[in-house]
Every structure is written in structure tokens, then in C-alpha cells.
Subunit: 304 residues, 2 copies
């Protein structure tokens, strides 16, 4: 499981600073969070293929989060027929994707699987993990996302298995699957040699919001979180007015949630790279595990 | 009068190669030709303001020519209220712009002035020049554009004015304006001291087409032409199949039209920069005044 930021820009794409977007890869499939104008360019610059793209999760219907969709769908189309590509977003986001495709009439050799989101929150679960969402506080209806890996089976104690005289092979496999076995006339339960299920890893994507309960819930205990840090502290009034987070507010949320590693994204185009160093320092004074996101750096999500 | 290419890419934006688009500046106003995904980025990289943007002329409704529109309209909106911005394109292009704005609901503190194009060709004239269009041959209805500066007044011969005893001042100004005057009881006509009107300069923007009469008419006698050179000669079959020009076909059109300087654009993403050198050479073997367009280079259009 890893995360790669494609850009950290907010509001509009700038030279050398693509718009905020992130790719989460897990079990050979990937989820793209947000897709503003130009997101396909860093995808290509990082040689990040789209063959394994499972879904695109979109936070809200503002141009800097969605207008890269037609180009990305056409890039995926280059690969020819394939399994459905998920479009995960609010009703109005899904309508935008449908209608833009209808207006531009581009070739789609694969189906889109629209997954319309209940604005009050919810989740989709599959064998590998759960994608959940919560409402955020922005100028338009907005959600943040959280992906939780399915709990992994407990650790198998080879030492205890040997002490109990269980030979390597099918009997140990049955125990690992949670079954009981009989060896030398004795019944051995799975729990005798297998520990409790281990919690899955967790990644959150939270941008375009004020501090709120939804953001707190999404960030809670995350291993890696991508969090908006749009403004420096002296522009806190603009953050409030426009429904965004300052980097300090993002760091405060990350610290309260016990986030393992928080990556700031969606920074204001008013700041040049030198000023972003100062923005990062303001955040790190509050929470040392916060850093400015670096596009195309691979962020591994370590096993717990 | 000058031209600045913002990108020369065709089909999709690539790292380091923005999509084909060109800015024509004349008499303090500018016209943007085409606006694919990411066009606003080189505009900013070149510090090319949008305050003087008069209109956006769009060749056809393919994503690589129009999906930068929402971002560009929002960039223009940053400047606050202003005079109307022209949107010049076919009915379906204008509908796309209208409906995309309606879907994304972004703030527009200025009006759009839609100028819907007759697919058979036509022109808009104002005090400074004439923007005309002609149908091209592509997979969907497509037009190319030509901008002709209004004819400039004829040259005033100071030598002849002095020989006729006309003093500097209002009498000479009247002659320059085309009026007749009386000096020392003699009638002097404008044509006695002012030469014939001089033709205005001319720029063409021709992309996404096969060689055709429309392309020929648009390029005829141009000082500067931006012309698609999408494919190398050995991919000529694909150019025919997909409705595009090879660089050699572009050079042939430019040579036949007597173009002063032709800039190749809309090159295929399959070619890396090294291969584009070969594409340029193929074109130059046919017409030495053809070159590969270089984004953000200022191309002056010299007075005739």
C-alpha cells in the first residue's frame, strides 16, 4: 500500500505546481482522489499507468477538483476495452461527469460505474478494504475520503505450533484460516496458535474544508493522511471566509487524530515555493509529523 | 503584432509539452486560438496577462482544444468585472462552453459574447482587422482561422508635399486622411502625396485537418501561419485515417501559399523531442520557412 501525490496546488494549476490529487495503490488496484485540470500530466511524468485504476473519488464540484476528468477518461480509453471504472462522487459530481462526456462525445471503450455518495456519509466495502466518506464544511457540498485496509489475519506462532506438535502443511493452513484441527487425538483451536486479527492500514484524503467533525472522523488514527493546508496562519481570516484550512489548522487536526504522517496539499497559488517552506514550518511547530506534500514521491504505508 | 505559441502538443497534454494553442496580440488586444487542458499554465509561465484578452477562437469540439476553457474563464474572472469576452466557435462549441459553465456554476463577473460560426465560413471585421474562418476537413466539423490587419493608410511623401509647397501641420494631416486641400489657390488631392493603402499583415491558425481548399484559402500569402504538423511522413496513413496533416503536408501547403513563416504545432504525443527534430527536418526539406513551433517564443509579425 502506498500513496503518491500528483500535485499539491489549490484553486488553479500553476507552472511547476499541478493541482491537488493523490493516487492510492493497494493490492494491485489504485484509487485516484480528485482530478483537476492537468492531473494526467504528472501521472505520465511519474510513469504511473492507468491500467489498474479502479475508481476516481471526487470530493466536490469545483473546477480545480474535476475538470481533468475528460482528459483522464480519454487517457484510460487509450488502453482499449477494460473493466468498469468507478466514478465516486456526489450526485452533482456524477452528473457533471456524465454530461461532460455527452457534450464532448469522446470514445469510451469501457463503462463507467457511477457510485453516487450519500451526502451524510457512508462506505463501500470489498475484499481488500473499505472506502468511506464523511461530509466536510466548504462553500459547496463536499466530502472527504478514508480508505481502510480489511483487517489482516492474526500472526501465526510457529513456536506454539511446534510445541503443540503440529507439522508444517495443511493442518497449519487450516488453523491460519480460523479452523480447529485434531492432532494426535487432541483438539487444537485456531486461537491456540493464531493471534487476534490485526487492524488494516488506513489513509485519508481531506481537503476543502474548515475543521469539522467529518474531518476528525476521517483522520482518526490514520497511518497516512493527505490534508489541505491552503493558507499560512496570517491568512486565517481568508481560510474561514472561503471554507479552507490553514496549515496550522491541518496540523492541529492531524495531531488530535494521531495521524502517523500527514502530507499538506491544496496550497494557495499566492505562495511561491520559498513561502511554502514557511507554511510547512508553521505546521510542524504544531505537529512534527506533518510535512508539505512532494509530488511524485512514493509514500509507503507501513504495516502495523 | 505578434504571436506566441502556448503549446504544440496534439491529442493530450504531455509532461513538458502543453497542448496546441496560440496567442495573437495586435493593437493592445489579444485573441487566443484553442484552449485545451492546461493552456492556462503556459500563459502564466510566460507572464502573459489575460486583461487584454478580447476573444477565444475555438476550432472544434475535441477535448484537446476546449477543456481548458473553464479554468481560463476562472483565471479571467480573477481580474474582476471587465468588458465581454468573446467565445468564437461553432454552435456545438458555444453550447459546450455555456453548459460547462452552467454545470460547474463558477463565478463570472463579466459577460461572455458568443459568436457562433457559420460552418461554411465567414468573417468578423472591426476597426483593427478581420477574423475570418473556413471549414477544414477533420473527423468532426472544424474550422481554421485567419486574422488580417485592416489595410494601413498609404505612405505620405514628405518630398512631394514640400515640392507642392504644403507646410507641415493640419493641411498635411487632411491629405493623410484622404481629403483634398487647397494651397495657394491650387487644389491638391490626397493621392498626389499619399500612396495607395498598404495591405495589412496576416496570421493563420490551421490545425486538425487534411489538406483542403479551406486550409489553402486561410494560409494564402500569410506572414505567419501556425499549421498542424502532427505526423512524420512514415505515418501518413494515420494522418489520412484520423483527419490530420503530416509535417510534410503542412510544409507543402505553406510553400504553395507563400507563407512567410510557418510554425508547426499539434504534434503527436508518440514522438519525443528527438523525433520532433526529424519531423521538422522532413518539413524543411519541402519548405525552408517552416519550423517547429517553440512555446513562449515571441514571433513578431513584421510590417510589410
Amino acid at each position: 500500500m502506498d500513496v503518491i501525490l500528483l500535485g499539491i496546488g489549490g484553486m488553479m494549476p500553476m507552472p511547476g505546481r499541478p493541482l491537488a490529487s493523490a493516487l492510492l495503490r493497494h493490492e494491485g488496484r489504485s484509487t485516484l482522489f480528485d482530478c483537476g485540470e492537468g492531473t494526467q500530466v504528472p501521472l505520465k511524468a511519474g510513469s504511473l499507468g492507468v491500467a489498474h485504476l479502479e475508481r476516481i473519488a471526487l470530493t466536490h464540484l469545483h473546477a480545480d477538483h474535476v475538470t481533468g476528468i475528460p482528459g483522464l477518461l480519454m487517457l484510460v480509453a487509450q488502453g482499449g476495452p477494460r473493466r468498469p471504472l468507478g466514478i465516486v462522487g456526489s450526485d452533482d459530481v456524477c452528473a457533471y461527469v456524465r454530461q461532460t462526456q455527452a457534450l464532448l462525445k469522446f470514445h469510451m471503450p469501457y463503462p463507467l460505474a457511477f457510485q453516487s455518495l450519500d451526502p451524510a456519509g457512508g462506505s463501500f466495502r470489498d475484499a481488500h478494504g473499505t472506502l468511506s466518506w464523511q461530509p466536510l464544511e466548504h462553500r459547496v457540498p463536499t466530502v472527504g475520503f478514508r480508505y481502510e485496509e480489511a483487517p489482516r489475519p492474526g500472526a501465526f506462532s510457529v513456536e506454539r505450533a511446534e510445541a503443540l506438535g503440529i507439522p508444517p502443511g495443511p493442518l497449519r493452513a487450516a488453523l491460519q484460516r480460523g479452523e480447529s484441527i485434531v492432532v494426535d487425538g487432541r483438539r487444537v483451536a485456531s486461537a491456540d496458535v493464531v493471534g487476534p486479527p490485526r487492524p488494516g492500514r488506513c489513509v485519508a484524503y481531506v481537503t476543502d474544508t474548515r475543521p469539522c467533525a467529518g474531518a476528525q472522523a476521517l483522520l482518526d488514527g490514520c497511518d497516512v493522511a493527505i490534508v489541505e493546508g491552503m493558507f499560512r496562519a496570517h491568512h486565517a481570516d481568508q481560510a474561514r471566509e472561503k471554507g479552507h484550512l490553514t496549515a496550522v489548522e491541518a496540523a492541529t487536526l492531524a495531531a488530535e487524530a494521531g495521524v502517523g504522517r500527514a502530507l499538506l496539499t491544496h496550497v494557495s497559488p499566492r505562495y511561491d515555493d520559498a513561502e511554502l517552506v514557511l507554511l510547512e514550518r508553521e505546521a510542524q511547530a504544531v505537529c512534527p509529523t506533518v510535512e508539505l506534500g512532494r509530488p511524485l514521491e512514493r509514500i509507503p504505508v507501513p504495516l502495523r
